[in-house]
């Protein structure tokens, strides 16, 4: 069949739920299939988390990121590995949370450690753990990100 030629479809051959419209196109109906959510969070919670990460990175000039998933038996080593895999490790602040192992790790790089002392990171971790104990993962992450942002302060003007 040549380019531009119009194919004729016999309506009798079409499967159930399909019809030929007046313009000649075939309109087909498909059964709706519900998809179970990939994470136990509501869209509102995910939006709050996205906003908190973006605001933290914009205010401080550091690269904040949140990892949520299994970290293995040595949680610190895995978190450090993930931190090294970031685009700019010296400025990266990684919050790694493993609900399975009930562990949270904050990893800072060279520049981010200068801006964000371990004491401040520990305070944020304690605040996050308090929320995680209640089962509020997103609330803990958002408040932890806000505390880390306040500790790191504004990006230096150049």
């Amino acid at each position: 069949m040549a380019t531009g030629e119009i194919a004729r479809v016999d309506p009798a051959d079409l499967p159930l739920g399909s019809a030929v419209t007046t313009s000649g196109r075939v309109s087909a109906a498909q059964m709706y299939q519900a998809h179970p959510p990939a994470l136990p969070f509501t869209p509102v919670q995910l939006a709050a988390l996205d906003e908190a990460i973006t605001l933290a990175s914009r205010t401080t000039g550091l690269d904040f990121s949140v990892y949520l998933g299994a970290l293995g038996s040595d949680t610190r080593a895995r978190a450090v590995e993930l931190h090294a895999a970031t685009a700019r490790p010296s400025h990266a602040v990684l919050l790694a949370v493993s609900p399975g192992e009930r562990a949270v790790e904050v990893v800072t790089g060279e520049e981010s450690h200068r801006r964000l002392a371990d004491r401040g990171a520990k305070l944020a971790v304690m605040s996050m753990v308090a929320s995680f104990k209640e089962g509020d993962l997103v609330g803990g992450l958002v408040s932890g990100l806000r505390m880390l942002t306040d500790q790191a302060g504004h990006a230096p003007r150049t």
């Binding site: 990121s65 949140v66 990892y67 299994a70 610190r76 990266a92 009930r102 104990k133």
Partner: protein
């Protein structure tokens, strides 16, 4: 109206309506968001969120610098 009819209309029909509504609330929803409770298994695929690039200032550097060896200088950890 006999006693039997009265009971049927004023007791059985409201009870049947209550029963139907109760069953409707108990049906499982495919898209229900299960709440995380501490101590339970985490059967979800790992996710890694970073800042939305559209919300960052234009001069936010994201260049990749070649690194070798450990990059971590500090941080903190906690358990619950």
């Amino acid at each position: 109206m006999t006693i039997v009819e009265t009971v049927l209309v004023f007791a059985l029909i409201p009870l049947a309506i209550y029963g139907v509504i109760t069953l409707l609330t108990l049906r499982p929803k495919a898209t229900r968001i299960a709440r995380y409770r501490p101590g339970q298994e985490w059967g979800y695929a790992p996710v890694w969120w970073s800042a939305n690039p559209g919300g960052l200032p234009a001069d936010h550097h994201t260049e990749t610098a070649p690194v070798s060896g450990p990059t971590a200088r500090g941080g903190a950890r906690g358990n619950w």
